[in-house]
Every structure is written in C-alpha cells, then in structure tokens.
C-alpha cells in the first residue's frame, strides 16, 4: 500500500504541451507512471510524448478513466484548471503551479468544500509512492520503496531528507509535498490521517517551516490520534519576523508562526525532533526505527 498514488493511478496532465509540463511529463513517464491523457485547450486531437491531448478535462476523463491530475498551467489560469479537474470528478489533483493569487485559492477552497476531490498543493513538488507512481517533480532515483511516509511544505528540504533516508537504507511508502503556499489544498493533518490509516506506513517524517499554524494543528493531531512515530523538523528558527522567506506561507506575522512555538508543540505532542541541522533528519528517523525494532 501507499497513499494518494500507486500502480492504479491513471494520471492526466493539465498543461502537458507547455515547456515545464512536457519536460516533467517525460520524466514522470520514465518513472513508470501511467500517463493516460494530456489537456491543453485548443490542442485536442494532437499527441505529445505518445500521450493523447484533449481540449477539456471532462473529455479526457471520459475517454481515459483518469483518476488523478497533475497541473502545470501558468498561475493566472491554475485556479480554473483545479476547478475544471474537480468538476470533471477527478478525485486527486496535484497542482505544481507556483504564484497563484491568494484570492483565487480562497475561491478554490470554497468551491471544493463540498466536493470529493482532494487537492495537493499548489506550489508543491507533488507526490511519489516509490516504485509505483510519481506525480511530481522529485528526482525519482533518490527514492526507495519502503515504510516511512514523508510530508513536507518544502521541496528541496524533502529531497535532502529522502536522500538521507535512502542512503541509510530506509525506504518510503509515499512522499507528499503539500506546498509552500498560505492556503494549501491539503494540510499536514490531512496527510497524517492518511499515513495513520495506511498499513504500509510505519513512521512519518514531517518537515515544517515558519508561518501559519499548520504544524501546531499537526501537533494536536499527533497527540490525539497518531499511534505511529513521527520525526519532525521545522525550518526558519532564525528567520526575521515580517519577511517572507520565499514561500508565500513562510512569514512570521505578529506573535504567530514562529519556529520555536511549532517545535515546542510538536515535541510536546510526542514527535521526535530532528536537531537544528537538516543533515541529520535521516539519522533521527533511523534511531526511532531502531528503537521500535528493538535494535
């Protein structure tokens, strides 16, 4: 098992004919993911990378039984692309696009509220279940199939952590980048819930950062509902308040959003904190797993 994506995932690519879209789709196909359709309005009927292109998601979903979508369309049109996928009944939508206006995402959240579609991202590296399916930007070959779930607001920091895990021989069930935006489609809690339920996930790495309260909400969930061990790391402890650290959501405003409070909440909830150096996230997980396994 794994969460969100697996061998049964039939992926549709929105914005497949764009530069980024086609480049990434190639790598996604190379990883072995079943890419069943592409969508670019006005280019229906053509082919790219051996994939049939449709004008609308509805038409593509209808013809190909796609059950997941990954979005590469430019920021100005991305909210519309998310809604299009949800309206077509696609159950999983991974939005890679960075820079979507906040008001567009407010609208997207209102629209998705009563719909069964799960949104990952935007502004995220996507999702990978190693050895099964990659719906994202991550370099496939640093991953190893296994039983540790990874969930993160940051892309490269996740790659760091995953590379460490893999080099220590610790495989991953699924790695989920929820994205660096202020209003992510799925939160830490959403993904922790899935990992908690997933039989193949033994432990979870959670990588947070400053800004917002997603980590505090995660801490509450870990405390109340989580029986699996969690190793956590929070970036930005030395960041100055009031400045946006790259990610739209990574900004300390007023008294909220500081790394210290997030770290304290996660530690109090029973998560094992990786020390302040991200280079030891892997080692921290190894210790936790060794303890479980009685080594």
């Amino acid at each position: 098992m794994s969460i969100l994506v697996d061998e049964k995932t039939r992926l549709l690519v929105q914005g497949i004919t764009g530069g980024e879209g086609s480049f990434q789709t190639q790598r996604i196909i190379e990883y072995g993911t079943k890419v069943v359709a592409g969508v670019t309005p006005g280019k229906g009927g053509t082919q790219i990378l051996g994939v049939n292109v449709f004008d609308t998601v509805a038409a593509a979903a209808n013809e190909t039984a796609a059950n997941a979508s990954i979005i590469f369309v430019p920021a100005a049109f991305a909210a519309d692309a998310i809604l299009e996928a949800a309206d077509a009944g696609i159950p999983l939508v991974v939005c890679i696009t960075e820079g979507i206006p906040v008001s567009d995402m407010v609208m997207v959240h209102a629209y998705l509220k009563d719909k069964p579609t799960r949104l990952i991202g935007p502004n995220c590296p996507g999702v990978i279940s190693p050895g099964k399916c990659k719906a994202g930007l991550m370099v496939g070959d640093i991953h190893l199939p296994g039983n540790v779930g990874v969930v993160s607001r940051s892309g490269t920091l996740t790659y760091e952590a995953v590379a460490q895990l893999t080099s220590l021989g610790i495989g991953q069930s699924t790695c989920v980048g929820i994205g660096g935006d202020m209003l992510p489609g799925s939160t830490f809690v959403d993904i922790l819930q899935l990992f908690q339920k997933d039989e193949d996930t033994e432990a979870v790495v959670l990588i947070g950062e400053i800004g917002g309260t997603l980590e505090q909400q995660a801490a509450e969930f870990i405390k109340e509902k989580m029986t699996k061990p969690v190793v956590a790391f929070v970036a930005g402890a030395t960041a100055p308040p009031g400045r946006r650290m790259g990610h739209a959501g990574a900004i300390i405003s007023g008294s909220s959003g500081r790394a210290q409070e997030k770290i304290a909440a996660l530690a109090a909830a029973g998560a094992t904190m990786a020390p302040t150096n991200p280079a030891v996230i892997g080692l921290t997980m190894k210790k936790v797993l060794d303890e479980i396994n009685g080594n």
């Binding site: 920021a75 407010v106 959240h109 209102a110 940051s154 892309g155 760091e160 990588i207 400045r243 280079a279």
Partner: protein, 404 residues
C-alpha cells in the same frame, strides 16, 4: 507590495471611505499651498513604508502654512528611523499634509485572509491606535473577528454586529458598516493581502474617518492590477534587495550577517541560514534561487553578493532535483568570468547532473571549498568568513579544498 499612506487613502476614497482632507507635497512650497488651502491646523506626515512614524518624529502638527512648509523642509530628503525600519532608516521624499481633526475615539479595522478558515476575516477593535499589537497580546477578547464567506461577501449584519460590539453609538452603526463593506470591496477588487485602517476615528463632530491606512497587495495578483503596480516605490526598499529583484533574484531577503547564501528551495534556504547561525556564524541573506534551467539568476546572485560589502564568504547549497547542478556550475563559471570574485566559495551540491557540474567547475578552474553536507558547509563558511577578514581568498586550513 506596499504603497504609501497617501496612495492608500486615495484608494479608500475611491471606494467611498471618508478620509481627512489633504494633499501630498514633495516641496515646502507645495506643503505651504496645501496647508493654506486647508486652513487651520494641519498635520505633516512623512510618507514612508513603515509604521511607528509618530514616535520617530515623522508626524508633526503645524498651526500655520509657514510652519507646515518648515516641517516639510525638515523632513524631505532625510531618512526616517522607526522601530519597523532597518537601522539606517528609509528615505522621505514626500509628505502628506492633512487637516487636523478633533479625534474623540480611535478604532482598529483590518482585513486579511485567515489561513485556518481559508476565508477573509474582518478584524476590528474598540482599542485602535498605536497600541493595537499590545491589545492583541494582553486583551485578546477586545480583538473582534468576522469571517467573510466568499459566496456571500461581507454582509451588512456583520458590520452592525462588529460596530455594536465596538460600542459605537447607534448613529454610527450605519457609517461604520459602510466603511467595512467598502473596505472589503477594495480588498477584493484590488487583491489586497492587508487592508488596514488604524486608527479609524470618530471626531468631536461625530464624523467617522480613516485617519491612517495601510494597504499591502498580493504580489502574485499584480499581473491583473497594473494600476496598483504603478504605485510601487523602489526607493523604500533596501537597495541591495531592490538590486536583487532587478536582477531577477526574486526570493531574496537581506539579513545582517556576512555569509552570502545561494540555495535552491525556500525550505532548504531557511534551514541553511538556521544552520549557519547554529554554527556560530551569521547569514547575509536568504536566497532561494528556485528551480532554474538558465544561468542568469546564478550570475545575478553573485552580482548581489559582490555588491554587498558585508558579504565575506559565499555558500552555495544545491540539492539538484528540478534544478540541475550543471546549470548552477555554469552560472558560477559565468559569474567568475564577468566579475572579479575574491570571496571564499563553499559548495555543497548533490543530485541531478552533479558529475557534469563538477567537471564544469574543474574545467573552468574555479577555486572552492567542498562540503559533505549542509552543516559541514555552514561550519566551513563561518570559518572562511572569519578568516577572510576582507576580500581576500581564503587559505587552505583544515578544509578539504577542491579544484575540479
């Protein structure tokens, strides 16, 4: 994006929110003219992108047009230092000359998007004015909130509920509701990230006005608001940040240390500056180079480092996923070709095309210190920044110095 108070007030006014009479002046003569047209006492307010002006001398009352001119002359051309500015302050190029009001009560009003409910929220308080942040900490029950359902927008009843709980008197229920409704219209129409009126005042005459206002805009939405984009005042930015943005290095934040950081990914960049601090050093910046497939941003970043006299060492930390190490390496080579870079260079790189990157750096004969991981890189950068003293090349110490 931030704008000036006078620009914010002009937008408020356009959306039907009352503001004091006044005008903006760049010279003493202009200020004199405005003050004499207004008549009576006026307030001269330095136009800077920072709060805390009152306590810092950026807001003064003038009884005569002559006095207004004099105050304006004193302010224009200076740098104002408040608790919100960097130590060197921000330049004052314009002042807002406004009719002085008989203020009786001061309220607080703002709209932001709430990340938990994922809705805009109207925040209001009876305790407006300069101490609102303290009120939020000490008496959080005095901070009122009304969440705005995007399907229905801000409703008049929400305005009445807030106004009632702010103890506005019955005659002010309707004007206060109107201010809130209009502030939400503005917030929506212009993609604000913050729309704040502080203080919203009631005068002795019973009028309700926005005495000070702050509007910040969602950078990601500026593409559909060219009118707002035009209000941008680069003078108010840190010059090195402004230079970085000009060079296309968007995710750049100036910090006060001496190690220039070039990292890909915001989370990793944050972790790197944390690690430098824990290693006893101090980063000169946060810099997320992003997922790039061209070399210009790398060259731009090096240009920013060399333009910043506080930078004593450069740390490059790249995990090649989307970004390719060969591209970064080519950028570093180009930077060395275009500039005379005498700063010690520490590189921690892994991932996509790392061997090709190494080959490129070796061929170009670039001097650098290789690191085994992020913490190792930080430690070596701290040592190098201390050792280098100035703009000299670092000497090999215990560091594994690589030439590829």
């Amino acid at each position: 994006m931030k704008i000036h108070e006078y620009q914010a007030k002009s937008l408020l006014s356009e959306f039907g929110i009352p503001v004091p009479q006044g005008g903006v002046a760049a010279t003493a003569a202009e200020a004199r003219k405005i003050a004499s047209e207004l008549g009576g006492k006026v307030v001269v307010k330095a136009q800077v992108h920072a709060g805390g002006r009152g306590k810092a001398g950026g807001m003064k009352v003038a009884s005569t047009p002559e006095e207004a001119a004099k105050l304006t002359e004193q302010m224009i051309g200076t740098r104002l230092v408040t608790h919100q500015t960097p130590p060197e302050g921000v330049p004052v190029s314009k002042v807002l000359v406004e009719k002085a009001l008989n203020v009786e009560r001061e309220f607080y009003l703002s709209i932001v998007v709430d990340s938990i409910t994922r809705m805009p929220v109207m925040i209001a308080s009876e305790a407006g004015g300069t101490d609102i942040e303290e009120t939020a900490l000490v008496n959080p029950e005095r901070i009122l909130r009304a969440y705005i359902d995007p399907a229905s927008g801000f409703q008049a009843f929400q305005g009445r509920n807030l106004a009632y709980r702010m103890n506005l008197n019955p005659a002010q229920l309707r004007p206060a509701t109107s201010v809130m409704t209009n502030l939400y219209r503005l917030f929506q129409a212009k993609d604000c990230s913050l729309a704040e009126i502080n203080p919203l005042v009631v005068t002795a005459e019973g009028e309700l006005l926005a005495l000070d206002a702050k509007l910040d805009f969602d950078d990601n939405a500026l593409f559909r608001h060219s009118d707002i984009e035009q209000l941008h005042d680069p003078e108010q930015e840190d010059p090195i940040e402004a230079r970085a943005h000009e060079l296309g290095v968007k995710n750049y934040v100036k910090l006060d240390g001496n190690i220039g950081c070039l990292v890909n990914g915001a989370g990793l960049a944050m972790a790197v500056i944390d690690t430098i601090t824990y290693a006893g050093g101090s980063p000169a910046n946060f810099l997320d180079i992003g997922a790039i497939n061209n070399t210009d941003r790398v060259v731009g970043a090096f240009r920013v480092f060399t333009a910043d006299p506080s930078v004593k060492a450069i740390l490059v930390n790249i995990f090649g996923g989307i970004a390719r190490i060969d591209v970064i390496a080519r950028g570093i080579v180009q930077a060395h070709e275009q500039m005379n870079i005498q700063l010690p260079l520490i590189i921690n790189a892994a991932g996509t095309n790392v061997d090709e990157g190494k080959r490129i750096l070796a061929e170009a004969n670039i001097d650098f210190i290789a690191a085994t991981d992020c913490y190792d890189a930080a430690r070596k950068a701290v040592a190098a920044a201390k050792g280098s003293g100035g703009r000299q090349k670092p000497q090999a110490s215990g560091n594994k110095r690589g030439k590829i």
